[in-house]
Each structure stands twice: as C-alpha cells, then as structure tokens.
C-alpha cells in the first residue's frame, strides 16, 4: 500500500519521453537524504525496464512499482 511508504519527494514525470524521466529522477534522488524514498509517476512505457536498469546503475533501490493503465509509479529509496 502506498500510504505505508513514507515519501520524501513526489515527482510527476508523466508526458515525458526518454531520456527525460531518467535524467530527472537521477537529479531528484540526490535531493533527498540517503534512506528516504521518492515517488515518481511516469507514463513512458520505456520506464518499466529503464527505471530498474537505472536503479542498478545508480545503486538505488526500487522498493515498489505500481502500474495503473498507462501510468507507472515507482517508489525509489536512495541508497547511494
């Protein structure tokens, strides 16, 4: 449940096409403290596999993914 996750920052990335969702989330995660979580909402189908790939590269963790219709919401914990 999303209300069980304490979110430090919400990013609306809907309507953006690659590489912008990853560019923005890469910046956004650095604006929260290590251990905090950001919530990023995307509408780009590419995000489904690109966000996990980005998380591996950047050393952060996607703790939850919710897909509803064309929108996918990622909860990403800053680890690095």
């Amino acid at each position: 449940m999303s209300d069980e996750i304490s979110v430090a920052k919400v990013m609306d990335l809907k309507g953006l096409a690659c590489p912008m969702p990853v560019v923005k989330v890469s910046k956004g995660i650095k604006e929260v403290q290590v251990g905090e979580v950001i919530q990023a909402v995307t509408s780009d189908p590419g995000a489904l596999s690109d966000f996990p790939a980005w998380a591996r590269t950047s050393g952060n963790e996607i703790i939850k993914t919710e897909t509803e219709g064309k929108e996918t919401t990622f909860y990403i914990k800053r680890l690095a």
């Binding site: 096409a17 690659c18 590489p19 912008m20 990853v22 890469s26 590419g46 596999s49 790939a53 590269t57």
Partner: protein, 384 residues
C-alpha cells in the same frame, strides 16, 4: 561536426549494402538489447552502453566507447531521445561523425526493404524484407493491380508502394494466422477494400470478413496475367497455405524456409500438427518441382540470403541444405525431431494471434510493443 540523424532505411543500406565502416552504439538497457538488436550481414561492430550509464557516470561511459574520434558512430535507442542525448555527449567529447536513429529502434522494427524478385513476364514480383522481424512479405503487380502476401502492420508502406507503381491493392493473401507479428491485412481492407484471402482452419473464429480459400483454388487479376494458386499445406498451423505464382514462384509462408521448416508446436498441439506437417512435406511439397523458387515467410540468419541479399532459393537447393529434415522417412521420427527442437515461444504470441483474428482490440502503442522483436518460427535453430 554537429550531431546528425539517420533513418532506418539508411541503416538498412549500411548493414546490407557496400561495406561501411562504422560502430553501432545501442544505448537501450541491457535487457532490451538482449531481447532484440539490429542485425545485418555487414554489421561488424556493435556495442551496448545504456543511456542511463551516460546519465549516472558520464566520463566512465564515454571512456567505454572505444572508437577513434575520427571514426563513425551510429546510435540506436528505443525512441530517439536517448540516442540524441548520448550523441550530444559524444560530439562534446570530440567525436566527429555521430548520428542518432530517427524514431528509434521501432522504426527499424517496422521498416520494409523492397527487393525485386522477378520482372519481365509482364508482372513484377517483390520481396519486402523486414529486417527487424527477420520476416518477408511479398507483392505481385500486374497492370494496375497489386496482390500482397502476408502484409505486416506498416500498411502505409504497401499503399505507397502500390501508388508509386500506378497500382492499387486488390487482395491480400494470408499464408496462415500469424503468431509472431500483427498482420496488416485488416487495415488494408479498411483503407482500400482489398479482400482478405485465407484458410478457414486458421480463421474460422475471425471476427472480420474474409474469402475462405479452397485447396488448389486459382486467383486471377482482372486483366489476366500471372495466376495465383492456393496450396493448402497444413502443419505450421492447420490452415497454412502456400501460394504458387505463375507456376514458378512459391510464397511459402512458414511451411518451407531456406534453412529449417516452420515449427508445428506453436499451437500447443505439437504431436498432431507435426503429423500434419509430415504429411504435407511428403505429399504436397514432395510433389513440387526442384526449380521452383521458394519465397519464405521468415529467415533465421542473414547467411541465408543470396548474393543479391534476397531471401529466395530453389526448392532443389533447399532440399539439399535441409537433407536432415527432408530425409526423415518415418512419421514417428519426424515427431521426435520436432519435439527435440522445441523451445519456448514468446509470451506475446497468444495475444498476437487474437489480434490477427480480430478477437482482441489493442491501441496502436500496445500493438507497436507486441509487434517488436525477431520471430521464433523455425523448427530448428541452425548454427545456434
């Protein structure tokens, strides 16, 4: 030099035509790259460095591009934006000839390259190679009419091709209910009223109107010209049909490939359909002439192309190349051969079949995703 773009058609020329010295840099994530990548007989250098690595670790990623600054780099990504993004970084770092693919890998996936197979007998016969799918569709033009065989969903291409040749599409022929790509026949029917010809064994549940063909039925153009004879060749699917053009060319669908044959296990009835296919090979196909030019629905590798980079071969040559398959004399042995070579089919095949029968409507974006990627239709994976 500034960053420039290129199109899928350019890429096709570079990877199939005169040898071009360039490095193809694919910046999609490793998973996407592993699933589907650009192929071509003259593609010698390809590297995969995902764009997210350029975002996170720019200097390190740039250092991984081990290409001299004066050499050419062609970048591929999913849609366009990421290739452009990485291209700017490379130009900033001193590479002089960098281009990104307009509209991304999907434009490569949908691209059709027309190749003339035959002309001179009053008609023109074309093979349309779809390198992203490793599949082939065909066009036969006589006077102002055109018949298309197994069109893919890039229907604008076929309509434009017909227009450029002063013809209109009058019929589309399906060799079977496709599982690996979305057929364009229905769209062509909506756009121009061209009737769909197909076998009822595959299309009986279809929600759209089609002409149900009979074995050996002959189709003609209004003003004569080459005859098209349907030959029911069940096996790959129960409704699989080959089309014999002018007694010289065979649109073979997924029944006869240059290497291997079409796998009869995709419908979940490997045993029954293998027996159907064995019977087809021993009767209908065995009865065809060695000189017949086979025009397959797929290829596995570019090595199958002839020196003109067309995927055609005579039936005699194909029988020789695949003597291990055509030499099987016994049904039980054939079924074993099929089962030994069976492998998983992509998850989306079940859905694609439904779309092609009109039983599932999906929007354009989802069709695009479903339709992207190389086929898995051959019974054996030669050289793998």
């Amino acid at each position: 030099m500034e960053l420039q773009s290129y199109r899928a058609e350019d890429l096709f020329e570079w990877v199939t035509g005169e040898r071009q010295d360039f490095t193809l840099l694919d910046v999609r994530n490793n998973e996407e790259f592993g699933r589907f990548k650009v192929e071509g007989p003259h593609l010698s250098k390809m590297i995969n460095i995902p764009y997210m690595e350029f975002i996170e670790k720019e200097d390190e990623s740039v250092a991984r591009v081990q290409v001299a600054k004066e050499e050419s780099i062609r970048i591929v990504c999913a849609k366009e934006g990421s290739a452009k993004y990485v291209g700017e970084i490379l130009v900033k770092n001193g590479w002089q000839d960098v281009r990104y693919l307009t509209e991304g890998i999907k434009s490569w996936g949908n691209m059709l390259a027309p190749k003339l197979v035959a002309s001179g007998s009053g008609y023109e016969l074309y093979q349309y190679i779809r390198p992203g799918k490793a599949s082939c569709s065909y066009g036969l033009i006589y006077e102002d009419q055109m018949a298309v065989f197994d069109p893919s969903r890039n229907t604008r291409f076929y309509q434009n091709f017909a227009n450029e040749h002063g013809a209109r599409i009058i019929k589309t022929f399906e060799t079977h209910l496709q599982a690996d790509y979305i057929s364009g026949s229905r769209q062509i029917f909506f756009d121009s009223g061209a009737r769909i010809v197909a076998h009822k064994n595959d299309f009986k549940d279809a929600t759209f109107e089609y002409k149900s063909l009979k074995d050996q039925e002959v189709f003609k153009f209004s003003k004569g010209g080459p005859e098209i004879q349907a030959i029911h060749t069940p096996g790959h699917t129960p409704g699989s049909t080959c089309y014999l053009i002018d007694d010289r060319y065979l649109v073979a669908g997924d029944t006869v490939f240059i290497l291997s044959i079409g796998r009869p296990d995709l419908g979940g009835m490997a045993e029954d359909w293998s027996k159907l296919l064995f019977h087809t090979l021993k009767t209908k196909i065995a009865g065809l002439d060695d000189d017949l030019l086979i025009m397959p629905g797929h290829y596995i590798e570019w090595s199958e192309a002839n020196p003109q980079q067309l995927f055609v071969d005579t039936l005699g040559s194909i029988r020789n190349k695949n003597a291990d398959i055509y030499g099987i004399a016994e049904e039980g042995e054939f079924v074993r051969f099929i089962k030994d070579n069976m492998r998983k089919q992509p998850d989306e095949y079940a859905q694609i079949r439904k779309v092609n029968a009109g039983l599932l409507e999906v929007d354009d974006e989802d069709q695009e995703i479903m339709d992207l990627g190389k086929n898995e239709c051959a019974a054996s994976m030669h050289g793998k």
